[in-house]
């Protein structure tokens, strides 16, 4: 089971598109896949960025938008800002949630327990021994 968090991204027409994000604690940045970028209808900023990974260096565009995650108890949490997006489909098969967002939370990826979540200020975790 891949560690996936389901979020929503604000489109250029004011709606929200549901997007699966791969939780990547090794990723410096959140990056949208090319497929998702195509759905957003957002005008890229004039600036661009090069991203490095196992496959080498790829170019990306930057878009100004919002990423939203539902909360178990409360309203959605929205993170506004500038996000990178690749334009080549093969560069990313899935949008990646990087430490620019996950660094704002405690991240739990519990594969045996099938739990993937972000803990905010109102939630805590406790480690117990048996």
């Amino acid at each position: 089971m891949r560690p996936v968090l389901w979020g929503q991204i604000r489109t250029g027409t004011g709606g929200w598109v549901a997007v699966p994000f791969l939780v990547d604690t090794g990723a410096d940045r959140t990056v949208f896949s090319a497929g998702v970028l195509g759905l957003l209808h957002l005008a890229p900023l004039a600036t661009s960025e090069r991203l490095g990974g196992l496959g080498g260096i790829v170019s990306s565009v930057v878009v100004d938008t919002q990423v939203r995650f539902p909360q178990v108890d409360g309203g959605p949490v929205t993170v506004r800002g500038f996000y990178a997006a690749v334009t080549v489909r093969e560069a990313l098969d899935m949008s990646v949630l990087g430490r620019d967002i996950t660094g704002l939370f405690t991240v739990i990826v519990d594969q045996p327990g099938q739990v993937v979540c972000l803990l905010g200020q109102r939630h805590r975790y406790r480690i117990e021994s048996f």
């Binding site: 990547d24 990723a27 497929g35 539902p70 949490v77 489909r89």
Partner: protein, 98 residues
Amino acid sequence: MTDAHRALVMEESRDPHEVAQAQAQAARLARNAAWLQAHAADIYPRYRGQHICIAGEELFVAATPDEAWALATAAHSDDDGRFLYYIPVEAVARIYVY
């Protein structure tokens, strides 16, 4: 990207309308996601290299993400919990570092 571009702003919505809309969309998304997980073993081998969209707990397949999205939207225009997924051509271990 400049340092100014890197700053993110986080906020929590308490607007009842937005909360209700977000929760409803999340619920529809969760149903579609559960459907994909339940059928993944059949879908992935069959549609490698293809773009899929899950909407209304149904599978829509196309060569491009736009086509898959359009097919799903035509069939389930009211399901804002639909999502795209690309199935890589090769079933190999994936390492993501960005």
